[in-house]
Amino acid sequence: MMLKLSIEKMGELFQRLAEGRKLYLPLDRGGQVDFGPWTPEAKVRLDRLKTIKSAKDFFFPQTENIVSFKRQGKDISIIENRDAEEPFVVFGVRGCDARSLDVLDRVFLCDPVDSFYKARRENGVVVSMACSEPEETCFCSIFGIDAADPQGDVVTYIIGDFLYWDERTDKGRALTETVKSLFSDASGDSSLVERSRGEIRDIVSRLPLCSLSLEGFDGSALKEKFGSPLWSELSQACVGCGTCTYVCPTCQCYDIQDFDTGHGIRRFRCWDSCMYSDFTLMAHGNPRKSQVERFRQRFMHKLIYFPANNDGMYSCVGCGRCVAKCPISMNITKVIKALGVEVNV
């Protein structure tokens, strides 16, 4: 059922959503907008389409404690310090980020199930938001994502002076029960919401990157794409930083490290990046010795290997963060153009 709330009452809604659980939403921190925990003083920025990092952080954090060890004399004690059991809501998730969870589910919920991720998925409620003003860096539609009707436990729209709230799943309905008294019935406004959706789709259809074709990017093209002579040219300016992988909502590679605290060991996992020289380092060295090979790996994974292993699902959602943030403006859309079909040129 569609509900609505006056924009002026958003503060009350956040207050209510944050009762008994964490509420994460886009916040202004020193001029930069990123998801963060809500407090009454927090500067909420729902007007900013793209947060710097995605909502992935709450399901697969950049660093996560696994276990700690403490040594006293000859005894070693093992200390459980995982914190994946907290209930939370992440609010204002755009369609691209909402879809990225499907990609991550494929990785972390298949056998063997990642118990950290699973716990966070079970404890987290996703409140998504339609994109009122898509940007030129967006290309979600080529992956079949509808910016006007994102997935999520609850889907919201800001139209005029109202927030529209549409529960979609059992989790979403349970969340709605806790805030329902703030809302009024909006079932009469369905044409208004539909019109807004139409406007969003119209803008998306005019975005330059949304006309890219993915034709030819599938498992059957593995050898052809892998052996393309274009990789060296595409990667020649890559500085080998991890920006694209860390702002990416679907990149899921991680490393496990021990941090020596001086009086014990904290074992944690942290995001890794295929762009780094020590990625998948083995006794004999990195299997991908040059930046060309590392660069190729990232895009082959997203556009060829992942769909080949996951029923055609690409591990890119077209959020465009890498497009906006790469220090030298090289990104997946330029790769798709260079290696794809003629129509893209």
């Binding site: 921190r29 020193g30 001029g31 930069q32 990123d34 389409l49 710097i52 990092k53 950049q62 660093t63 404690n65 003003e133 898509p134 940007e135 030129e136 803008i203 005019r206 975005l207 330059p208 990157l209 040219e233 020649q236 300016a237 500085v239 080998g240 930083c241 991890g242 920006t243 992988t245 860390y246 702002v247 490393d255 490290q257 941090f259 020596d260 605290t261 904290r266 944690f268 942290c270 995001w271 890794d272 990046s273 780094y276 020289s277 020590d278 380092l281 497009v323 906006a324 943030k325 220090p327 030298i328 403006s329 090289m330 859309t333 330029k334 153009k337």
Partner: protein, 327 residues
């Protein structure tokens, strides 16, 4: 800027044709006006894609480390500020001067796409640089900005429009010049804080760091063959740490390592996806070096020693830290 680009294309074409250079290092046009990518060009025809505009900020000097290891001579386009880093790389014998041909390109100040986004620009379709103005056509209407309001930080505090190294210049007469501000003003403000305030300031700024290493990798002075942070046995591997203070140390260590060498090119702050003002750490070192050893600008020339690699009997003693009120 379009004049400069035309001069660049024509000279690069001639030099390639003559065989004076084997390849050309410049910027290639992207999907949008604001996203040129550093690129090598090895044929005259490919130069059609060579662009130079207010978003050609990515510095090309560092690419010469690898490029000059290859056969042949590379033509490189350097903006005035890029020549400082070029000289520094020559000074440290990272780049072979004989294998380079430098065309110094005129600069009208580089523009900051992040500043434009913060000012609400979205849905960009095209841009035009018209003298001192920037006109942006977007899906949500046209917008006009004065260049001076949307310059990159490194350009707002520009060191000057003189090229410190070049074989020839591509600088038209009528390039836009702008008023620059004092690059140490913000450092002085930070110095005016109490140590507690300053600690809180940096903890806040650095808390946004995602350890992407873009600052290090773009830095023309960070040119170690193997960075300590890339050595898994160092215990300080280049990934996010479980401890946030350890994380912050990455930037402190890097600032120390580039002290006396940093040319203040500002690439670290430009490439930071989190907009952390990393240049302020380096500028603090530059300001102190100037105060302790006399004015010094890294990369101004290839010759001579730098203050931290030269010993003079009059050099300050470590006790200066206490004298200035430090711990």
């Amino acid at each position: 800027m379009r004049r400069v680009r035309d001069m660049m294309r024509s000279r690069a074409g001639e030099l390639l044709k003559d065989g004076a250079v084997t390849r050309v290092l410049g910027w290639k046009s992207g999907e949008f006006y604001y996203d040129p990518t550093p690129s090598f060009f090895d044929t005259e025809e490919s130069l059609d894609e060579l662009v130079y505009n207010g978003f050609s900020a990515a510095m090309l000097s560092k690419y010469l480390i690898e490029a000059t290891k290859k056969e042949g001579r590379v033509l490189v386009f350097l903006k005035p500020c890029d020549t400082y880093s070029f000289n520094h790389l020559l000074k440290e014998h990272k780049v072979d001067r004989e294998k380079t041909y430098v065309i110094g390109v005129g600069c009208g100040g580089m523009l900051d796409i992040e500043k434009l986004r913060a000012l609400g620009v979205k849905g960009i379709e095209s841009m035009e640089e018209l003298g001192e103005n920037l006109v942006i056509h977007t899906l949500y209407g046209d917008k006009k900005f004065a260049r001076g309001d949307v310059l990159l930080e490194k350009c707002a505090t520009c060191k000057g429009l003189e090229h410190k190294a070049s074989d020839e210049l591509a600088v038209p007469d009528e390039l836009w010049e702008w008023e620059t501000s004092d690059r140490f003003a913000r450092v002085s403000e930070l110095e005016g804080m109490t140590s507690g305030e300053r600690f809180a300031f940096w903890r806040g700024e650095l808390s946004r760091c995602i350890r992407c290493n873009a600052c290090r990798n773009a830095c023309p002075v960070c040119s170690c063959n193997k960075c300590v942070f890339d050595n898994p046995r160092s215990g300080v591997i280049a990934k996010a740490n479980a401890d946030t203070f350890e994380e912050n140390m990455f930037h402190i260590i890097r600032a120390f390592h580039v002290a006396g060498r940093c040319t203040d090119c500002g690439e670290c702050s430009r490439v930071c996806p989190q907009n952390i003002p990393l240049h302020l750490l380096n500028r603090k070192f530059i300001k102190d070096i100037n105060a302790f050893y006399g004015e010094y600008q890294s990369g101004e020339s290839v010759d001579g020693k730098s203050p931290l690699t030269e010993f003079r009997t009059g050099d300050v003693e470590p006790g200066i830290v206490h004298e200035r009120g430090g711990a």
